[in-house]
């Protein structure tokens, strides 16, 4: 799990600083959120290099719109919403430019690095789960990733994705069900 940010300066001060043109404050904000922005992006676009591009686009958007941010929603909800929107748009562009046959090749490009303490069995299990996740439809994949990898509550996920909580939960269940089905086939 990516832990949200531990720095000496509170995030609200960094936001204020960045809003008033403090480049260092913006840099720190970028550092604080980069891992999670990238992680969400890579889950959606399923390619590490494309996820880097999306991450860059997100921070450029944030920089350009930060002066108008007044904290009606939390900063993290806002930035993750930008991320999901950007990544989905990016994915759409990629789908347009890539023939459908290339998608499976594309899928295998994500570098899923297991943590060192993983045993071989656990590693294999994790890989099976990740492969199954990568094959989910984008909405289900995004909801599942935000819930299980980023531990975000459903209410926040709904806000990020601009959908109802019930709809997001239904997506979550269908995603888990498909993974369970894929996983049992993979294991057997």
């Amino acid at each position: 799990m990516i832990e949200a940010i531990s720095v000496n300066i509170p995030e609200s001060r960094l936001i204020q600083g960045a809003q008033s043109g403090d480049a260092e404050a913006f840099n720190q904000l970028m550092e604080l959120h980069m891992d999670r922005v990238y992680a969400i992006a890579v889950k959606i676009v399923k390619d590490s290099s494309e996820a880097e591009d999306v991450t860059q686009e997100v921070f450029i958007t944030v920089y350009n719109k930060l002066s108008g941010f007044r904290g009606d929603s939390s900063f993290s909800t806002w930035i993750y919403r930008v991320t999901v929107n950007r990544a989905l748009r990016h994915l759409k562009k990629l789908k347009r430019s890539k023939p459908a046959d290339d998608v499976s090749i594309f899928d295998s490009q994500v570098d899923h690095r297991p943590s060192p303490e993983d045993t071989a069995v656990e590693r294999e299990k994790s890989q099976l789960l990740r492969d199954a996740m990568d094959r989910l439809p984008e909405k289900q994949r995004t909801v599942l990733s935000l819930r299980v990898e980023h531990a975000l509550p459903f209410k926040e996920i709904a806000s990020i994705m601009g959908r109802s909580v019930g709809g997001v939960k239904a997506n979550y269940f269908h995603a888990v069900k498909k993974i369970q089905s894929a996983f049992s086939k993979g294991v057997s």
Partner: protein
């Protein structure tokens, strides 16, 4: 073993808590009596537990540096070309589109035609008029929300945005309002605002929309 979908139907309704293991008492009792649901529950919970242990993919140090450099370089180039000013948001194409739509609406209802104040509940445009004003780009963006559109499930998100279009009578009110929109929905605000407008559609418009999206 008898087939039973009770647990699955409950999950599909999206009424569970933060985990698929949070069930109401009635369903827990059902699980005791129903082997099919009990086994399904066990499998689902087990996979959810495993999923919750996954760590997200994070960028390596080289990738982080690349991202940081890319962002800073773009910002630097941007500022050299445009320069940061309080008027910068006004150059945003979405803002300009929204402003054009607001002004068109205001002109349409003749709010500038006389000295009288605009009534707070000016009549809304007909759905047919709105539909014809939605351009190709907006439709493309709306495809993200295809499900909600088809199910007309977006109604809960409707707010007073259209009302604001028809009652704002001063340029600065329009500017403030448009800025709020830009903030609330980040970079997709324009399309979502349009979606809110779309919630006003009647059945004929939905048919047109379904035909378009299909």
């Amino acid at each position: 073993m008898r087939r039973c979908n009770k647990l699955e139907r409950y999950y599909e309704s999206g009424r569970f808590g933060e985990s698929l293991n949070e069930l109401p008492d009635a369903l827990k009792k059902h699980l005791v009596a129903c082997q099919a649901c009990r086994e399904k529950h066990k499998e689902i919970i087990e996979i959810e537990r495993t999923l919750l242990q996954l760590d997200p993919d994070v960028p390596g140090s080289v990738a982080r540096a690349r991202i940081r450099m890319g962002v800073l370089k773009t910002i630097d180039t941007q500022e050299k070309h445009i320069g940061f000013s309080i008027f910068q948001p006004l150059l945003n194409p979405r803002f300009l589109s929204a402003a054009a739509m607001i002004i068109a609406t205001l002109l349409l209802y003749g709010v500038y035609q006389s000295d009288r104040m605009v009534t707070p509940h000016s009549p809304l445009k007909s759905p047919e008029t709105i539909l014809t004003q939605i351009d190709q780009n907006t439709f493309s963006e709306m495809e993200h929300y295809n499900d909600q559109l088809i199910n007309q499930d977006f109604g809960t998100l409707a707010d007073s945005s259209l009302l604001a279009y028809t009652t704002a009578s001063m340029d600065d009110e329009i500017t403030v309002y448009a800025n709020e929109l830009l903030l609330d929905d980040s970079d997709d605000v324009y399309s979502e605002d349009i979606l809110q407008v779309v919630t006003e559609f009647d059945e004929t418009d939905w048919d047109d929309l379904r035909r378009y999206l299909s």
